[in-house]
Protein backbone atom coordinates (compact mmCIF):
# COMPACT_ATOMS: atom_id res chain seq x y z
CA UNK A 1 0.00 0.00 0.00
CA UNK A 2 2.81 2.40 0.91
CA UNK A 3 4.69 1.82 -2.31
CA UNK A 4 1.52 2.03 -4.33
CA UNK A 5 0.74 5.36 -2.71
CA UNK A 6 4.19 6.77 -3.36
CA UNK A 7 4.22 5.65 -6.97
CA UNK A 8 0.75 7.00 -7.59
CA UNK A 9 1.62 10.34 -5.98
CA UNK A 10 4.78 10.66 -8.04
CA UNK A 11 2.88 9.89 -11.21
CA UNK A 12 0.26 12.52 -10.44
CA UNK A 13 2.97 15.09 -9.69
CA UNK A 14 4.62 14.45 -13.06
CA UNK A 15 1.33 14.76 -14.89
CA UNK A 16 0.44 17.91 -12.97
CA UNK A 17 3.77 19.41 -14.00
CA UNK A 18 2.91 18.58 -17.61
CA UNK A 19 -0.46 20.23 -17.12
CA UNK A 20 1.16 23.46 -15.90
CA UNK A 21 3.42 23.38 -18.97
CA UNK A 22 0.45 23.06 -21.32
CA UNK A 23 -1.41 25.83 -19.52
CA UNK A 24 1.69 28.03 -19.55
CA UNK A 25 2.19 27.42 -23.27
CA UNK A 26 -1.40 28.51 -23.99
CA UNK A 27 -0.37 32.11 -23.48
CA UNK A 28 2.79 31.69 -25.55
CA UNK A 29 0.82 30.31 -28.47
CA UNK A 30 -1.32 33.41 -28.81
CA UNK A 31 -0.28 34.93 -32.12
CA UNK A 32 1.27 38.33 -31.51
CA UNK A 33 1.41 40.17 -28.21
CA UNK A 34 -1.25 38.69 -25.92
CA UNK A 35 -1.53 41.80 -23.80
CA UNK A 36 -2.05 43.98 -26.85
CA UNK A 37 -4.54 41.46 -28.23
CA UNK A 38 -6.40 41.48 -24.94
CA UNK A 39 -6.48 45.25 -24.52
CA UNK A 40 -7.67 45.96 -28.03
CA UNK A 41 -6.92 49.22 -29.82
CA UNK A 42 -7.51 51.78 -27.11
CA UNK A 43 -5.55 51.40 -23.90
CA UNK A 44 -3.37 53.32 -21.51
CA UNK A 45 0.32 52.75 -22.03
CA UNK A 46 0.71 52.49 -18.25
CA UNK A 47 -1.81 49.68 -18.03
CA UNK A 48 -0.09 47.89 -20.88
CA UNK A 49 3.35 48.20 -19.29
CA UNK A 50 2.06 47.12 -15.91
CA UNK A 51 0.37 44.01 -17.30
CA UNK A 52 3.40 42.98 -19.32
CA UNK A 53 5.56 43.52 -16.27
CA UNK A 54 3.19 41.55 -14.05
CA UNK A 55 2.95 38.69 -16.57
CA UNK A 56 6.74 38.74 -16.89
CA UNK A 57 6.53 38.47 -20.63
CA UNK A 58 9.88 40.10 -21.30
CA UNK A 59 11.93 37.43 -19.60
CA UNK A 60 13.27 34.29 -21.32
CA UNK A 61 10.73 31.46 -21.65
CA UNK A 62 12.24 28.96 -19.17
CA UNK A 63 12.47 31.68 -16.53
CA UNK A 64 8.85 32.63 -17.23
CA UNK A 65 7.76 29.02 -16.88
CA UNK A 66 9.63 28.48 -13.64
CA UNK A 67 8.19 31.60 -12.13
CA UNK A 68 4.72 30.62 -13.36
CA UNK A 69 4.98 27.25 -11.61
CA UNK A 70 6.56 28.85 -8.55
CA UNK A 71 3.82 31.46 -8.32
CA UNK A 72 1.11 28.88 -8.94
CA UNK A 73 2.44 26.84 -6.02
CA UNK A 74 2.02 29.85 -3.76
CA UNK A 75 -1.49 30.39 -5.09
CA UNK A 76 -0.62 33.29 -7.42
CA UNK A 77 -2.04 32.78 -10.89
CA UNK A 78 -1.38 36.30 -12.16
CA UNK A 79 -3.86 39.11 -12.71
CA UNK A 80 -6.73 39.53 -15.12
CA UNK A 81 -5.86 41.48 -18.25
CA UNK A 82 -9.24 43.12 -17.95
CA UNK A 83 -9.84 44.03 -14.35
CA UNK A 84 -6.33 43.71 -12.96
CA UNK A 85 -7.69 41.59 -10.11
CA UNK A 86 -5.82 38.46 -8.99
CA UNK A 87 -6.89 35.45 -11.04
CA UNK A 88 -6.90 33.12 -8.05
CA UNK A 89 -9.67 35.08 -6.39
CA UNK A 90 -11.70 35.34 -9.58
CA UNK A 91 -11.47 31.62 -10.23
CA UNK A 92 -12.14 30.46 -6.68
CA UNK A 93 -15.14 32.72 -6.46
CA UNK A 94 -16.75 30.80 -9.33
CA UNK A 95 -15.88 27.34 -8.06
CA UNK A 96 -18.83 26.85 -5.65
CA UNK A 97 -21.45 27.40 -8.35
CA UNK A 98 -19.84 24.82 -10.60
CA UNK A 99 -19.31 22.38 -7.72
CA UNK A 100 -22.97 22.70 -6.79
CA UNK A 101 -24.10 22.03 -10.34
CA UNK A 102 -21.71 19.10 -10.82
CA UNK A 103 -22.59 17.60 -7.44
CA UNK A 104 -26.34 17.68 -7.98
CA UNK A 105 -25.98 16.45 -11.54
CA UNK A 106 -23.97 13.42 -10.41
CA UNK A 107 -26.31 12.84 -7.48
CA UNK A 108 -29.27 12.79 -9.84
CA UNK A 109 -27.34 10.56 -12.24
CA UNK A 110 -26.51 8.07 -9.50
CA UNK A 111 -30.11 7.95 -8.31
CA UNK A 112 -31.23 7.10 -11.82
CA UNK A 113 -28.40 4.91 -13.04
CA UNK A 114 -27.91 2.60 -10.07
CA UNK A 115 -31.35 1.04 -10.05
CA UNK A 116 -31.68 1.22 -13.81
CA UNK A 117 -28.26 -0.24 -14.59
CA UNK A 118 -28.48 -3.03 -12.03
CA UNK A 119 -32.05 -4.06 -12.85
CA UNK A 120 -31.33 -3.90 -16.54
CA UNK A 121 -28.45 -6.35 -16.13
CA UNK A 122 -30.20 -8.66 -13.68
CA UNK A 123 -33.30 -8.77 -15.87
CA UNK A 124 -31.27 -9.03 -19.04
CA UNK A 125 -33.52 -9.05 -22.10
CA UNK A 126 -36.62 -7.79 -20.31
CA UNK A 127 -38.68 -4.77 -21.28
CA UNK A 128 -36.94 -2.76 -18.57
CA UNK A 129 -33.58 -3.75 -20.02
CA UNK A 130 -34.63 -2.49 -23.43
CA UNK A 131 -35.84 0.77 -21.94
CA UNK A 132 -32.55 1.18 -20.11
CA UNK A 133 -30.52 0.47 -23.20
CA UNK A 134 -32.47 2.90 -25.35
CA UNK A 135 -32.19 5.50 -22.59
CA UNK A 136 -28.44 5.13 -22.34
CA UNK A 137 -27.89 5.08 -26.08
CA UNK A 138 -30.01 8.22 -26.51
CA UNK A 139 -28.45 9.86 -23.49
CA UNK A 140 -24.88 9.56 -24.68
CA UNK A 141 -25.87 10.84 -28.12
CA UNK A 142 -27.95 13.84 -27.20
CA UNK A 143 -26.18 17.22 -27.09
CA UNK A 144 -26.70 18.37 -23.50
CA UNK A 145 -27.28 21.97 -24.55
CA UNK A 146 -30.03 20.89 -26.92
CA UNK A 147 -31.67 18.93 -24.15
CA UNK A 148 -31.36 22.05 -22.02
CA UNK A 149 -33.11 24.08 -24.69
CA UNK A 150 -35.89 21.50 -24.94
CA UNK A 151 -36.22 21.53 -21.15
CA UNK A 152 -36.55 25.30 -21.19
CA UNK A 153 -39.16 25.10 -23.95
CA UNK A 154 -41.14 22.60 -21.88
CA UNK A 155 -40.74 23.73 -18.28
CA UNK A 156 -40.54 27.44 -18.88
CA UNK A 157 -42.34 28.02 -22.15
CA UNK A 158 -45.18 25.51 -21.97
CA UNK A 159 -45.60 24.72 -18.28
CA UNK A 160 -44.14 27.88 -16.79
CA UNK A 161 -42.89 25.99 -13.74
CA UNK A 162 -39.25 26.95 -13.66
CA UNK A 163 -37.13 29.97 -14.53
CA UNK A 164 -35.25 29.61 -17.84
CA UNK A 165 -31.88 30.68 -16.47
CA UNK A 166 -30.00 32.51 -13.78
CA UNK A 167 -28.73 31.82 -10.30
CA UNK A 168 -29.73 32.77 -6.79
CA UNK A 169 -27.27 32.14 -3.95
CA UNK A 170 -28.48 29.55 -1.46
CA UNK A 171 -28.13 32.02 1.41
CA UNK A 172 -30.42 34.54 -0.24
CA UNK A 173 -33.42 32.41 -1.08
CA UNK A 174 -33.20 28.62 -0.83
CA UNK A 175 -36.39 28.01 -2.78
CA UNK A 176 -35.31 30.20 -5.64
CA UNK A 177 -31.86 28.66 -5.50
CA UNK A 178 -33.36 25.24 -5.94
CA UNK A 179 -35.69 26.35 -8.74
CA UNK A 180 -32.74 27.66 -10.70
CA UNK A 181 -30.70 24.55 -9.99
CA UNK A 182 -33.23 22.00 -11.22
CA UNK A 183 -33.07 22.48 -14.98
CA UNK A 184 -29.30 22.68 -15.45
CA UNK A 185 -28.49 19.87 -13.01
CA UNK A 186 -31.14 17.51 -14.37
CA UNK A 187 -30.02 18.26 -17.93
CA UNK A 188 -26.40 17.45 -17.14
CA UNK A 189 -27.49 14.64 -14.83
CA UNK A 190 -29.48 12.84 -17.49
CA UNK A 191 -26.48 12.66 -19.81
CA UNK A 192 -24.28 11.46 -16.97
CA UNK A 193 -26.95 8.97 -15.96
CA UNK A 194 -26.94 7.55 -19.46
CA UNK A 195 -23.19 7.02 -19.36
CA UNK A 196 -23.31 5.47 -15.90
CA UNK A 197 -26.30 3.25 -16.65
CA UNK A 198 -24.46 1.80 -19.59
CA UNK A 199 -21.34 1.23 -17.57
CA UNK A 200 -23.14 -0.27 -14.57
CA UNK A 201 -25.15 -2.57 -16.80
CA UNK A 202 -22.12 -4.02 -18.52
CA UNK A 203 -20.14 -4.21 -15.30
CA UNK A 204 -22.93 -6.14 -13.56
CA UNK A 205 -23.43 -8.39 -16.58
CA UNK A 206 -19.76 -9.20 -16.60
CA UNK A 207 -19.74 -9.99 -12.90
CA UNK A 208 -22.81 -12.20 -13.30
CA UNK A 209 -20.96 -14.42 -15.73
CA UNK A 210 -18.06 -14.98 -13.34
CA UNK A 211 -17.36 -18.41 -11.90
CA UNK A 212 -17.70 -17.21 -8.32
CA UNK A 213 -21.33 -16.41 -8.99
CA UNK A 214 -21.87 -20.01 -10.01
CA UNK A 215 -20.10 -21.02 -6.83
CA UNK A 216 -22.45 -18.86 -4.82
CA UNK A 217 -25.45 -20.42 -6.54
CA UNK A 218 -24.00 -23.83 -5.77
CA UNK A 219 -24.02 -22.87 -2.09
CA UNK A 220 -27.77 -22.42 -2.32
CA UNK A 221 -27.78 -18.71 -1.52
CA UNK A 222 -30.97 -16.88 -2.34
CA UNK A 223 -30.88 -15.06 -5.68
CA UNK A 224 -31.02 -11.78 -3.85
CA UNK A 225 -27.96 -12.62 -1.79
CA UNK A 226 -26.08 -13.84 -4.82
CA UNK A 227 -26.67 -10.48 -6.45
CA UNK A 228 -25.98 -8.23 -3.49
CA UNK A 229 -23.03 -10.08 -1.98
CA UNK A 230 -21.26 -11.52 -4.96
CA UNK A 231 -22.32 -9.70 -8.10
CA UNK A 232 -22.70 -6.12 -6.88
CA UNK A 233 -19.69 -6.06 -4.60
CA UNK A 234 -17.50 -6.88 -7.56
CA UNK A 235 -19.37 -4.98 -10.21
CA UNK A 236 -19.67 -1.69 -8.39
CA UNK A 237 -16.02 -1.20 -7.53
CA UNK A 238 -15.17 0.05 -11.03
CA UNK A 239 -18.36 2.12 -11.02
CA UNK A 240 -16.95 4.19 -8.16
CA UNK A 241 -14.09 5.22 -10.42
CA UNK A 242 -16.27 6.10 -13.32
CA UNK A 243 -18.73 8.09 -11.23
CA UNK A 244 -15.94 10.11 -9.64
CA UNK A 245 -14.23 10.72 -12.96
CA UNK A 246 -17.57 11.91 -14.32
CA UNK A 247 -17.89 14.33 -11.43
CA UNK A 248 -14.39 15.64 -12.08
CA UNK A 249 -14.98 16.04 -15.80
CA UNK A 250 -18.16 17.95 -15.15
CA UNK A 251 -16.21 20.65 -13.33
CA UNK A 252 -14.83 21.76 -16.66
CA UNK A 253 -17.30 20.05 -18.94
CA UNK A 254 -20.39 22.06 -18.21
CA UNK A 255 -19.26 25.17 -20.08
CA UNK A 256 -22.08 25.02 -22.57
CA UNK A 257 -24.72 24.30 -19.96
CA UNK A 258 -23.50 27.14 -17.77
CA UNK A 259 -23.63 29.49 -20.74
CA UNK A 260 -27.09 28.29 -21.71
CA UNK A 261 -28.51 28.64 -18.22
CA UNK A 262 -26.46 31.74 -17.30
CA UNK A 263 -24.98 29.81 -14.40
CA UNK A 264 -22.12 31.81 -12.90
CA UNK A 265 -19.58 29.01 -12.61
CA UNK A 266 -16.16 28.21 -13.99
CA UNK A 267 -17.57 27.37 -17.41
CA UNK A 268 -19.26 30.74 -17.74
CA UNK A 269 -16.04 32.35 -16.52
CA UNK A 270 -14.02 30.47 -19.14
CA UNK A 271 -16.45 31.50 -21.82
CA UNK A 272 -16.29 35.16 -20.78
CA UNK A 273 -12.50 35.01 -20.56
CA UNK A 274 -12.27 33.61 -24.06
CA UNK A 275 -14.52 36.31 -25.45
CA UNK A 276 -12.59 39.05 -23.63
CA UNK A 277 -9.22 37.46 -24.51
CA UNK A 278 -8.47 37.57 -20.82
CA UNK A 279 -5.82 34.87 -21.09
CA UNK A 280 -4.64 34.75 -17.46
CA UNK A 281 -8.20 34.05 -16.30
CA UNK A 282 -8.58 31.37 -18.97
CA UNK A 283 -5.30 29.80 -17.85
CA UNK A 284 -6.33 29.94 -14.22
CA UNK A 285 -9.69 28.29 -14.84
CA UNK A 286 -8.17 25.56 -17.00
CA UNK A 287 -5.39 24.88 -14.51
CA UNK A 288 -7.81 24.68 -11.59
CA UNK A 289 -10.10 22.27 -13.39
CA UNK A 290 -7.23 20.03 -14.52
CA UNK A 291 -5.72 20.01 -11.04
CA UNK A 292 -9.08 19.10 -9.51
CA UNK A 293 -9.44 16.37 -12.10
CA UNK A 294 -6.05 14.88 -11.23
CA UNK A 295 -6.79 15.13 -7.53
CA UNK A 296 -10.10 13.31 -7.97
CA UNK A 297 -8.40 10.59 -9.97
CA UNK A 298 -5.78 10.20 -7.27
CA UNK A 299 -8.38 9.97 -4.52
CA UNK A 300 -10.39 7.49 -6.54
CA UNK A 301 -7.38 5.25 -7.03
CA UNK A 302 -6.70 5.29 -3.31
CA UNK A 303 -10.33 4.52 -2.60
CA UNK A 304 -10.18 1.73 -5.15
CA UNK A 305 -7.22 0.24 -3.35
CA UNK A 306 -9.31 0.24 -0.19
CA UNK A 307 -12.30 -1.38 -1.88
CA UNK A 308 -10.43 -4.01 -3.84
CA UNK A 309 -8.21 -6.18 -1.67
CA UNK A 310 -6.15 -7.29 -4.65
CA UNK A 311 -4.69 -3.85 -5.39
CA UNK A 312 -2.41 -3.57 -2.38
CA UNK A 313 -0.20 -6.47 -3.43
CA UNK A 314 0.23 -5.36 -7.01
Amino acid sequence: MGRFLVRRLAQSAVVLLGVTLVVFLLLQLVPGDPVRVALGTRFEQDTYDALRERAGLDRPLPVQYLSYVGNALTGDLGVSFRSGDPVTGIVLERLPATLTLAFFAVLFALLVSFPLGILSAVKNGSVLDHVARVFSQFGVSVPDFWMGILAIILFTGVLGWLPPSGYTPLGEDPVDWFKHLVLPSVTVGLVTAAILTRFIRSSVLEAMSEDYVRTAEGKGLSPRRVVTRHVLRNALIPVVTVAAVQLASLLGGVIVIEVLFAWPGLGQLTFDAVRARDYPVLQGAVLLVAALFLLTNLLVDLLYAKLDPRISVR
Binding site: Q246, I255, V274
Partner: protein, 305 residues
Protein backbone atom coordinates in the same frame (compact mmCIF):
# COMPACT_ATOMS: atom_id res chain seq x y z
CA UNK B 1 -4.32 -38.71 -21.04
CA UNK B 2 -6.91 -36.23 -21.99
CA UNK B 3 -8.91 -36.55 -25.13
CA UNK B 4 -9.95 -32.96 -25.54
CA UNK B 5 -9.12 -30.15 -23.18
CA UNK B 6 -12.28 -29.43 -21.21
CA UNK B 7 -11.88 -25.69 -21.43
CA UNK B 8 -11.04 -25.64 -25.10
CA UNK B 9 -14.01 -23.40 -25.77
CA UNK B 10 -12.37 -20.60 -23.78
CA UNK B 11 -9.10 -20.85 -25.62
CA UNK B 12 -7.93 -18.69 -28.48
CA UNK B 13 -7.98 -14.92 -28.83
CA UNK B 14 -10.90 -13.07 -30.34
CA UNK B 15 -10.67 -13.08 -34.12
CA UNK B 16 -9.32 -9.93 -35.70
CA UNK B 17 -10.75 -8.68 -38.94
CA UNK B 18 -9.14 -9.29 -42.27
CA UNK B 19 -10.42 -8.28 -45.64
CA UNK B 20 -12.01 -11.70 -45.96
CA UNK B 21 -14.05 -11.00 -42.84
CA UNK B 22 -15.85 -8.07 -44.36
CA UNK B 23 -18.63 -10.40 -45.40
CA UNK B 24 -19.12 -11.56 -41.84
CA UNK B 25 -19.25 -7.99 -40.55
CA UNK B 26 -21.78 -6.99 -43.17
CA UNK B 27 -23.93 -10.00 -42.46
CA UNK B 28 -23.94 -9.19 -38.75
CA UNK B 29 -24.78 -5.53 -39.37
CA UNK B 30 -27.60 -6.50 -41.70
CA UNK B 31 -29.22 -8.58 -38.98
CA UNK B 32 -28.97 -5.70 -36.50
CA UNK B 33 -31.99 -3.44 -37.05
CA UNK B 34 -30.76 -0.43 -35.06
CA UNK B 35 -27.46 -0.60 -36.92
CA UNK B 36 -29.32 -0.55 -40.21
CA UNK B 37 -31.25 2.50 -39.08
CA UNK B 38 -27.93 4.09 -38.09
CA UNK B 39 -26.41 3.34 -41.46
CA UNK B 40 -29.46 4.82 -43.14
CA UNK B 41 -29.10 8.07 -41.18
CA UNK B 42 -25.42 8.20 -42.08
CA UNK B 43 -26.30 7.68 -45.74
CA UNK B 44 -28.73 10.59 -45.53
CA UNK B 45 -26.00 12.64 -43.88
CA UNK B 46 -23.54 11.87 -46.65
CA UNK B 47 -26.09 12.78 -49.33
CA UNK B 48 -26.93 16.01 -47.49
CA UNK B 49 -23.24 16.75 -47.12
CA UNK B 50 -22.55 16.18 -50.78
CA UNK B 51 -25.63 17.75 -52.34
CA UNK B 52 -27.01 19.95 -49.53
CA UNK B 53 -26.79 23.31 -51.33
CA UNK B 54 -28.42 21.80 -54.44
CA UNK B 55 -31.26 20.23 -52.49
CA UNK B 56 -32.00 23.18 -50.25
CA UNK B 57 -35.22 24.97 -51.26
CA UNK B 58 -33.88 28.38 -50.16
CA UNK B 59 -30.52 30.07 -49.93
CA UNK B 60 -28.89 29.74 -46.53
CA UNK B 61 -28.71 33.48 -46.09
CA UNK B 62 -31.82 34.42 -48.00
CA UNK B 63 -33.26 37.01 -45.65
CA UNK B 64 -37.01 37.52 -45.80
CA UNK B 65 -38.13 40.37 -43.59
CA UNK B 66 -41.79 39.61 -44.24
CA UNK B 67 -41.58 36.09 -42.86
CA UNK B 68 -39.68 36.29 -39.59
CA UNK B 69 -40.27 33.58 -36.97
CA UNK B 70 -42.67 31.55 -39.09
CA UNK B 71 -43.66 28.22 -37.63
CA UNK B 72 -43.24 25.01 -39.62
CA UNK B 73 -45.41 25.06 -42.72
CA UNK B 74 -45.50 23.59 -46.23
CA UNK B 75 -43.25 26.34 -47.51
CA UNK B 76 -40.88 26.14 -44.53
CA UNK B 77 -41.00 22.65 -43.02
CA UNK B 78 -38.69 23.66 -40.13
CA UNK B 79 -39.98 27.24 -39.95
CA UNK B 80 -38.00 30.45 -40.40
CA UNK B 81 -35.57 32.17 -38.03
CA UNK B 82 -35.16 35.69 -36.69
CA UNK B 83 -34.01 36.91 -40.11
CA UNK B 84 -36.70 35.06 -42.00
CA UNK B 85 -34.22 32.47 -43.27
CA UNK B 86 -35.44 28.94 -43.99
CA UNK B 87 -34.33 26.70 -41.11
CA UNK B 88 -34.66 23.52 -43.17
CA UNK B 89 -32.24 24.78 -45.81
CA UNK B 90 -29.75 25.86 -43.18
CA UNK B 91 -29.92 22.53 -41.34
CA UNK B 92 -29.42 20.69 -44.63
CA UNK B 93 -26.46 22.76 -45.75
CA UNK B 94 -24.82 22.67 -42.33
CA UNK B 95 -24.54 18.88 -42.61
CA UNK B 96 -21.49 19.23 -44.85
CA UNK B 97 -19.41 21.26 -42.45
CA UNK B 98 -20.40 19.06 -39.52
CA UNK B 99 -19.34 15.95 -41.37
CA UNK B 100 -16.18 17.65 -42.56
CA UNK B 101 -15.12 18.71 -39.07
CA UNK B 102 -15.88 15.23 -37.77
CA UNK B 103 -13.88 13.45 -40.45
CA UNK B 104 -10.89 15.78 -40.43
CA UNK B 105 -10.57 16.01 -36.67
CA UNK B 106 -10.95 12.28 -36.12
CA UNK B 107 -8.51 11.78 -39.00
CA UNK B 108 -5.97 13.92 -37.15
CA UNK B 109 -6.60 12.11 -33.88
CA UNK B 110 -6.38 8.73 -35.60
CA UNK B 111 -3.15 9.49 -37.40
CA UNK B 112 -1.34 11.05 -34.46
CA UNK B 113 -2.83 8.82 -31.78
CA UNK B 114 -2.17 5.57 -33.61
CA UNK B 115 1.41 6.60 -34.37
CA UNK B 116 2.05 7.45 -30.74
CA UNK B 117 0.33 4.32 -29.45
CA UNK B 118 2.13 2.12 -31.96
CA UNK B 119 5.56 3.48 -31.10
CA UNK B 120 4.85 3.37 -27.36
CA UNK B 121 3.46 -0.14 -27.40
CA UNK B 122 6.05 -1.52 -29.78
CA UNK B 123 9.21 -0.10 -28.21
CA UNK B 124 7.93 0.05 -24.64
CA UNK B 125 10.40 1.22 -21.98
CA UNK B 126 11.35 4.88 -21.75
CA UNK B 127 9.74 5.88 -25.04
CA UNK B 128 6.48 4.36 -23.90
CA UNK B 129 6.67 6.07 -20.55
CA UNK B 130 7.37 9.52 -21.95
CA UNK B 131 4.73 9.32 -24.68
CA UNK B 132 2.02 7.94 -22.45
CA UNK B 133 2.70 10.49 -19.72
CA UNK B 134 2.21 13.17 -22.39
CA UNK B 135 -1.09 11.55 -23.25
CA UNK B 136 -2.00 11.50 -19.55
CA UNK B 137 -1.39 15.24 -19.44
CA UNK B 138 -3.81 15.82 -22.32
CA UNK B 139 -6.22 13.45 -20.68
CA UNK B 140 -6.25 15.52 -17.51
CA UNK B 141 -8.27 18.25 -19.23
CA UNK B 142 -11.97 17.81 -19.77
CA UNK B 143 -12.45 17.38 -23.50
CA UNK B 144 -14.48 20.48 -24.23
CA UNK B 145 -12.47 22.74 -21.93
CA UNK B 146 -9.23 21.85 -23.71
CA UNK B 147 -10.81 22.38 -27.10
CA UNK B 148 -12.14 25.78 -25.98
CA UNK B 149 -8.72 26.78 -24.64
CA UNK B 150 -6.97 25.78 -27.86
CA UNK B 151 -9.47 27.67 -29.99
CA UNK B 152 -9.25 30.67 -27.70
CA UNK B 153 -5.53 30.80 -28.26
CA UNK B 154 -5.30 29.96 -31.93
CA UNK B 155 -8.32 32.00 -32.95
CA UNK B 156 -11.84 30.88 -33.68
CA UNK B 157 -12.83 29.27 -36.95
CA UNK B 158 -13.22 26.07 -38.89
CA UNK B 159 -9.57 25.02 -39.11
CA UNK B 160 -8.71 25.63 -35.48
CA UNK B 161 -11.85 23.83 -34.40
CA UNK B 162 -10.75 20.78 -36.37
CA UNK B 163 -7.24 20.94 -34.93
CA UNK B 164 -8.54 21.44 -31.38
CA UNK B 165 -10.97 18.52 -31.56
CA UNK B 166 -8.28 16.39 -33.19
CA UNK B 167 -5.84 17.10 -30.36
CA UNK B 168 -8.45 16.41 -27.73
CA UNK B 169 -9.30 12.94 -29.07
CA UNK B 170 -5.69 11.91 -29.75
CA UNK B 171 -5.03 10.35 -26.30
CA UNK B 172 -7.94 7.93 -26.66
CA UNK B 173 -6.55 6.57 -29.91
CA UNK B 174 -3.07 6.39 -28.43
CA UNK B 175 -4.32 4.41 -25.45
CA UNK B 176 -6.47 2.02 -27.44
CA UNK B 177 -3.64 1.42 -29.92
CA UNK B 178 -1.01 0.91 -27.26
CA UNK B 179 -3.12 -1.60 -25.34
CA UNK B 180 -3.78 -3.62 -28.50
CA UNK B 181 -0.16 -3.45 -29.63
CA UNK B 182 1.05 -4.72 -26.29
CA UNK B 183 -1.02 -7.87 -26.64
CA UNK B 184 -0.30 -8.42 -30.34
CA UNK B 185 3.41 -7.94 -29.79
CA UNK B 186 3.54 -11.04 -27.62
CA UNK B 187 2.10 -13.26 -30.31
CA UNK B 188 4.09 -15.80 -32.20
CA UNK B 189 3.86 -14.28 -35.66
CA UNK B 190 5.43 -11.06 -34.42
CA UNK B 191 8.24 -12.91 -32.67
CA UNK B 192 8.73 -14.89 -35.85
CA UNK B 193 8.89 -11.72 -37.95
CA UNK B 194 11.41 -10.23 -35.54
CA UNK B 195 13.58 -13.32 -35.77
CA UNK B 196 13.66 -13.12 -39.57
CA UNK B 197 15.22 -9.71 -39.23
CA UNK B 198 12.34 -7.68 -40.66
CA UNK B 199 12.59 -3.98 -39.93
CA UNK B 200 10.54 -2.52 -37.08
CA UNK B 201 8.60 -0.36 -39.51
CA UNK B 202 7.77 -3.34 -41.68
CA UNK B 203 6.66 -5.43 -38.71
CA UNK B 204 4.44 -2.65 -37.43
CA UNK B 205 2.89 -2.06 -40.81
CA UNK B 206 2.55 -5.65 -41.98
CA UNK B 207 1.94 -7.57 -38.79
CA UNK B 208 0.86 -5.29 -35.97
CA UNK B 209 -1.44 -2.75 -37.62
CA UNK B 210 -3.72 -5.22 -39.39
CA UNK B 211 -4.20 -7.05 -36.14
CA UNK B 212 -5.24 -4.05 -34.14
CA UNK B 213 -7.69 -2.78 -36.74
CA UNK B 214 -10.79 -3.99 -34.90
CA UNK B 215 -10.61 -1.75 -31.82
CA UNK B 216 -9.49 1.16 -33.99
CA UNK B 217 -12.45 0.85 -36.35
CA UNK B 218 -14.79 0.81 -33.38
CA UNK B 219 -13.07 3.76 -31.73
CA UNK B 220 -13.19 5.73 -34.98
CA UNK B 221 -16.92 5.34 -35.31
CA UNK B 222 -17.54 6.32 -31.69
CA UNK B 223 -15.11 9.23 -31.92
CA UNK B 224 -16.86 10.59 -35.00
CA UNK B 225 -20.00 10.83 -32.88
CA UNK B 226 -18.25 12.79 -30.19
CA UNK B 227 -16.24 14.95 -32.56
CA UNK B 228 -19.47 16.11 -34.15
CA UNK B 229 -20.91 16.72 -30.70
CA UNK B 230 -17.82 18.73 -29.75
CA UNK B 231 -17.98 20.78 -32.91
CA UNK B 232 -21.60 21.59 -32.19
CA UNK B 233 -20.64 22.67 -28.68
CA UNK B 234 -17.80 24.85 -29.94
CA UNK B 235 -20.03 26.44 -32.54
CA UNK B 236 -22.72 26.96 -29.89
CA UNK B 237 -20.12 28.94 -27.95
CA UNK B 238 -19.32 30.90 -31.09
CA UNK B 239 -15.85 29.39 -31.27
CA UNK B 240 -16.34 27.00 -34.17
CA UNK B 241 -17.83 27.66 -37.55
CA UNK B 242 -18.40 31.37 -38.05
CA UNK B 243 -21.49 33.07 -39.47
CA UNK B 244 -22.74 33.54 -42.11
CA UNK B 245 -21.79 29.89 -42.71
CA UNK B 246 -24.60 27.92 -41.02
CA UNK B 247 -23.81 25.34 -38.35
CA UNK B 248 -26.10 23.31 -36.13
CA UNK B 249 -24.45 24.44 -32.91
CA UNK B 250 -24.60 28.11 -33.83
CA UNK B 251 -28.23 27.83 -34.90
CA UNK B 252 -29.05 26.47 -31.47
CA UNK B 253 -27.20 29.34 -29.84
CA UNK B 254 -29.22 31.80 -31.89
CA UNK B 255 -32.43 29.91 -31.22
CA UNK B 256 -31.82 29.81 -27.48
CA UNK B 257 -33.03 33.39 -27.13
CA UNK B 258 -36.37 32.61 -28.70
CA UNK B 259 -37.24 29.31 -27.07
CA UNK B 260 -40.55 30.60 -25.83
CA UNK B 261 -41.74 32.05 -29.13
CA UNK B 262 -39.96 30.14 -31.87
CA UNK B 263 -39.35 26.63 -30.51
CA UNK B 264 -38.56 25.28 -33.97
CA UNK B 265 -35.33 27.27 -34.01
CA UNK B 266 -34.20 25.31 -30.99
CA UNK B 267 -35.64 21.97 -32.01
CA UNK B 268 -34.54 21.04 -35.52
CA UNK B 269 -30.81 21.84 -35.55
CA UNK B 270 -30.47 19.87 -32.30
CA UNK B 271 -32.45 16.99 -33.70
CA UNK B 272 -30.00 16.86 -36.60
CA UNK B 273 -27.01 16.68 -34.23
CA UNK B 274 -28.74 14.08 -32.09
CA UNK B 275 -29.62 11.80 -35.00
CA UNK B 276 -26.15 11.93 -36.51
CA UNK B 277 -24.40 11.33 -33.20
CA UNK B 278 -26.85 8.55 -32.37
CA UNK B 279 -26.19 6.95 -35.75
CA UNK B 280 -22.42 6.94 -35.30
CA UNK B 281 -22.85 5.57 -31.78
CA UNK B 282 -25.18 2.77 -32.82
CA UNK B 283 -22.98 1.77 -35.73
CA UNK B 284 -19.92 1.95 -33.49
CA UNK B 285 -21.56 -0.27 -30.90
CA UNK B 286 -22.69 -2.72 -33.55
CA UNK B 287 -19.16 -2.86 -34.94
CA UNK B 288 -17.86 -3.43 -31.43
CA UNK B 289 -20.24 -6.33 -30.96
CA UNK B 290 -19.01 -7.94 -34.15
CA UNK B 291 -15.33 -7.09 -34.10
CA UNK B 292 -14.29 -6.61 -30.55
CA UNK B 293 -16.90 -7.87 -28.14
CA UNK B 294 -15.02 -7.51 -24.91
CA UNK B 295 -13.94 -3.91 -25.23
CA UNK B 296 -15.46 -1.49 -22.79
CA UNK B 297 -12.91 0.91 -21.56
CA UNK B 298 -12.99 3.49 -18.87
CA UNK B 299 -12.14 5.96 -21.62
CA UNK B 300 -15.59 5.46 -22.98
CA UNK B 301 -17.05 6.94 -19.86
CA UNK B 302 -15.24 10.18 -20.54
CA UNK B 303 -16.10 10.64 -24.10
CA UNK B 304 -18.88 13.14 -23.77
CA UNK B 305 -17.51 15.11 -20.88
Amino acid sequence: MSVTEPNAEHAGPAPTPHVSERGRVWAALRRNKPALAGLFILAVLVVAGALGPLLAPYGINEVDADHLFQGPSRDHPFGTDDAGRDVFSRVLVAARVSLLVGLVSVGIALLVGVTIGLVAGYYRGVVDNVLMRCMDVLFAFPVLLLAVAIVAVLGRGLVTAMVAIGVVYTPIFARVTRASVLSVREQVFVTAAVSTGASDWRIMRRHVLPNIAAPLIVQTSLSLAFAILSEAALSFLGLGIQPPQPSWGRMLYDGRGYVQDAWWMGLFPGLAIFLVVLAFNIVGDALRDVLDPRQLTKDEARRTA
